[in-house]
């Protein structure tokens, strides 16, 4: 795209593929960055942004694809290789040593020395110059980094990048930890850098920021580039959101089941639930056999609603009832006891015992059923686990296998099997197809529908609007922590949902303290 430019792109990535056991994190990403531009990288959680920048930083090796730097093909075999080319990455979790001074951090690993003695004065002078160049002379070289604000710490990271003569700086959601004024100052620095010819790859979920500071946009989804080189200021918001949330592949959604019109009493009743700073006054009911979808952007409060219902997050007001009985707020065990199950967003860290066999993961929430006076019957556990894996078509059927070795789709089935085994009444699914291979998604959809047909009340959260619309019977649209609509899925389409989402977005281009990206 930029190939016709006289100068040519600074960085070109073509067809980058990266596979982890069980999941394809990147399935062909293209990205080109010109010198002196702010190139925005957009994508939902799990789209592959983090993997991509790790490839760019030399922390991950791509399985396929070509990386060109100033027109020459390069291999970024380790972080040092990337750094020596002039690619610096500023991660979300800043990699600074809190107990060392600003100057020590800037020159960490490259301290100037003479006759084996360090020369702190030289480092300090150079650091002071860098800080002045960044417009932040108030950050003193001798200050301990741990005592600085998050914004100042970012400046230290940027100074470190500059001290290494970086030509390309990747910033991973730098605004997530900053307030309005700090973001403005960060933008000033970004503009100064680009004026000096440094390229910046800027990652953020916040469209209004991208309007303010970006030159061009690349959108990735499901590990692929879906659009690149879009003008950052002119591209309509609706188009950008639609690219981020739209479908890249036609999935097969199961047929909705005809239900007797609202005759059954609701299983799950949520009334006026609020978590300060996340969402407020959320109410809904779910009938047996019904699938309720929660649609919204990152930060809309959709995952937090699930967590509050499940008791993993304590609400400030409101109540949750299952089969008419009120649940104790903030008590997961009470929710599980009442028949609620959660398949959380981060399966590996929040749901699974990765080193344990499949059967133990499946029976974890139903141990009482397999025990008499506290003594477990492993035989009964395994028999029940085998029954579930067969019902879910989970391969391999060997329930002694470590969960770690399974694919994303099969790991999700293990989590679902856990709740199936409990005969749960309410199933909460947070991003049920995250990390699941595209091919296995239809299978998960069919499973969720089959569960609902057994009378389970299901609540599904997803970043992908088509997924919510295709799977759910009824959809709750959330924006900025408020319910914008509660309508049958058939009455909504993607455009309507986008309209609702945009209505709920904080107005104006100013930065707002919307929910932290979870």
């Amino acid at each position: 795209m930029a190939g016709t430019d006289v100068s040519g792109p600074l960085l070109e990535m073509q067809g980058i593929v990266k596979t982890f056991p069980g999941v394809r994190a990147l399935g062909g990403v293209d990205l080109d960055v010109r010198a002196g531009e702010v190139h925005c990288l957009l994508g939902q959680n799990g789209a592959g942004k983090s993997t991509l920048i790790k490839v760019l930083a030399g922390a991950h090796q791509p399985d396929e694809g070509v990386i060109r730097w100033r027109g020459e093909q390069v291999r970024l075999s380790d972080p040092q290789a990337a750094m020596s080319l002039g690619i610096a990455t500023i991660y979300q979790e800043l990699d600074l040593v809190a107990g060392l001074s600003v100057a020590d951090n800037v020159y960490l690993g490259r301290e100037r020395s003479r006759f084996g003695l360090s020369r702190p004065a030289a480092d300090q002078r150079a650091t002071a110059e860098l800080m002045a160049r960044l417009g932040h002379p108030e950050i003193r070289p001798g200050t301990e980094v741990g005592a600085l604000s998050a914004a100042s710490q970012q400046m230290v990271s940027i100074a470190r990048a500059l001290s290494q003569d970086a030509r390309l700086i990747v910033m991973d959601e730098p605004s997530a930890v900053l307030d309005n004024e700090e973001v403005e100052r960060l933008f000033d620095v970004v503009r100064d850098l680009t004026a000096q010819g440094v390229a910046v790859v800027y990652i953020s979920h916040r469209l209004e920021e991208i309007r303010q500071v970006g030159d061009r946009i690349t959108v990735i989804k499901d590990g692929r580039t879906v659009a690149t080189g879009l003008p950052a200021r002119e591209t309509p918001t609706r188009e950008v959101i639609s690219l981020m949330t739209g479908r890249t592949i036609e999935y097969v959604f199961p047929q909705r089941t005809e239900r007797p019109a609202a005759s059954a009493a609701p299983v799950l009743e949520v009334t006026a639930l609020s978590v300060p700073g996340r969402f407020s006054d959320v109410s809904f009911t779910v009938a047996p056999g019904e699938i309720l979808g929660l649609a919204g952007l990152v930060g809309s409060g959709r995952s937090e609603v699930l967590e509050a219902v499940y008791g993993a997050r304590r609400p400030s007001t409101g109540e949750v009832r299952v089969d008419g009985r009120k649940l104790r707020a903030g008590d997961v065990a009470a929710a599980v006891g009442a028949g609620v199950g959660l398949a959380p967003e981060e399966r590996k860290s929040q749901a699974l015992l990765l080193g344990d066999p499949i059967y133990r993961n499946i029976t974890l929430s139903s141990l009482a059923r397999f025990s008499r006076a506290g003594f477990l019957s492993v035989r009964a556990e395994k028999a029940a686990a085998i029954e579930q894996t067969e019902a879910l078509d989970l391969r391999p059927v060997d329930v002694d296998r470590e969960v770690r070795t399974l694919s994303g789709g099969n790991q999700q089935k293990v989590v679902l099997a856990r709740w199936l085994l409990r005969d749960c009444r309410v199933l909460l699914l947070d991003e049920p197809t995250r990390g699941v291979d595209v091919g296995a998604r239809s299978e998960i959809y069919a499973l969720v529908r089959a569960l609902a047909d057994r009378g389970v009340a299901v609540v599904v959260v997803s970043s992908e609007i088509p997924e919510v619309l295709g799977l759910a019977d009824r959809v709750l649209v959330l924006a900025d922590g408020r319910v914008m609509a509660d309508e049958p899925a058939t009455a909504l389409d993607e455009h309507r949902v986008l309209d609702l989402v945009m209505q709920g977005l904080p107005s104006g281009a100013t930065h707002t303290t919307e929910g932290h990206v979870a």
Partner: protein, 376 residues
């Protein structure tokens, strides 16, 4: 129960007796039943233990391979062994208990005060046992509550308990050694049913009970889950805080039992009992293959760890080597054992996951998202 007990002691003692030959793996798989899997997994330890016994026989001959000496080894192993069983639970559950030595001292002192002994004299010596166990349990409860609900790091909380409990023991005993006067207490615990000292029986019973609790009950399964992934355990509906408290109470109870055993062995209660016991217990648990980060571990490994250390001291003592050189050897063994286990574990994982990518790649978040845990 009795039959299982004798299997444990037999498995532990057989290489030390006159047959140093091949490790008792065949015995485990054919007869033991419940030992088979564990012995297989702890093959390295079994081999190390067997080698140690061979060294003992070669250097000390009959002085090592006599029934008397074997009984001596087991008797010495008993006290630290009981504490190590409790420690195994705490460490598998993702914690650590540095206060065990101090709790043994406090329990032994509290159970031998004039008041307690007077009450025991009026009623039954079981009062002394009950006191020791209760003191251990309550101190463990304090540990657990501070860690689970006060959110203190286990290392710090139990370090504080270590200092406080030993201090309290000194206050109660007024820094004097308290003699156990109850003859029936001493004769009961001094007896040797079937030629095996009562202390060894107690160790065996505690070990078997610990094995059953860890591997055959919901409590044990939840311990693995809480130590392996506390967040996943919580979201699966396990009451993680309550369980954590129970683990420290359990450790406290084993300290109480160990205190009784020490009282019987030394006929005293003293604030100096159990000094540095925590280090021996942790070392035994760790070389037994239990991961310090939690989620993995075995009772059989811990028992073997205890036996290895005790036998090592015994061999050194029989050869008139100083306790200082024993300490050096101990340090070497700890490092060597853990290094070896890491190798074995890595090899096993590679074999299991077949030709998949190296384990480091498997750890990485594949979807590229940071694992932001939205715990409140």
């Amino acid at each position: 129960m009795t039959e299982q007990t004798s299997t444990t002691t037999a498995a532990g003692a057989s290489p030390a007796s006159d047959r140093p030959g091949p490790p008792p793996s065949t015995r485990g798989s054919s007869g033991g039943g419940f030992l088979s899997g564990s012995v297989g997994r702890n093959m390295g330890l079994v081999v190390a233990f067997a080698l140690l016994c061979i060294v003992g026989i070669v250097t000390a001959g009959d002085r090592f391979a006599s029934t008397d000496n074997v009984v001596t080894i087991l008797r010495l192993a008993a006290v630290v062994g009981v504490v190590s069983i409790g420690m195994t639970f705490v460490i598998i559950g993702g914690g650590i208990d540095l206060s065990v030595g101090a709790l043994v001292a406090l329990s032994s002192v509290w159970a031998t005060t004039l008041a307690t002994q007077a009450m025991a004299a009026d009623t039954h010596w079981i009062v002394m046992v009950g006191t020791a166990v209760l003191v251990g349990a309550v101190a463990g409860l304090v540990n657990g509550v501070v860690i689970a609900y006060g959110k203190l790091v286990a290392f710090i909380a139990t370090l504080a308990m270590l200092a406080a409990a030993r201090g309290l023991a000194e206050i109660i005993a007024n820094r004097r050694t308290q003699t156990v006067r109850d003859e029936s207490f001493l004769s009961f615990f001094g007896a040797s049913p079937l030629g095996i000292p009562m202390l060894v029986w107690i160790f065996a019973v505690v070990a078997v009970a610990g094995w059953v609790l860890l591997n055959r009950t919901t409590f044990g399964r939840r311990t693995f889950a809480v130590g392996g992934n506390a967040e996943a355990a919580r979201l699966a509906g396990i009451r993680v805080q309550r369980h954590t408290v129970a683990l420290y109470v359990l450790s406290g109870v084993t300290c109480g039992i160990a205190a009784v055993m020490l009282m019987a062995r030394t006929t005293t209660g003293s604030s100096t009992h159990g000094t540095l016991l925590e280090l021996d217990a942790i070392a035994a648990v760790v070389i037994g293959g239990t991961l310090l980060v939690g989620g993995r571990g075995t009772i059989v490994g811990t028992v073997l760890g205890v036996l290895i250390f005790t036998t090592l001291s015994n061999v050194f003592t029989l050869n008139n080597l100083s306790s200082s050189s024993q300490a050096v050897a101990k340090g070497v063994i700890i490092v060597a054992a853990v290094l070896l286990q890491q190798r074995v574990a890595a090899g096993r994982r590679q074999k299991r996951s077949g030709k998949a990518l190296p384990p480091t790649a498997a750890e990485g978040a594949p979807a590229g998202a940071s694992p932001g845990v939205p715990a409140p």
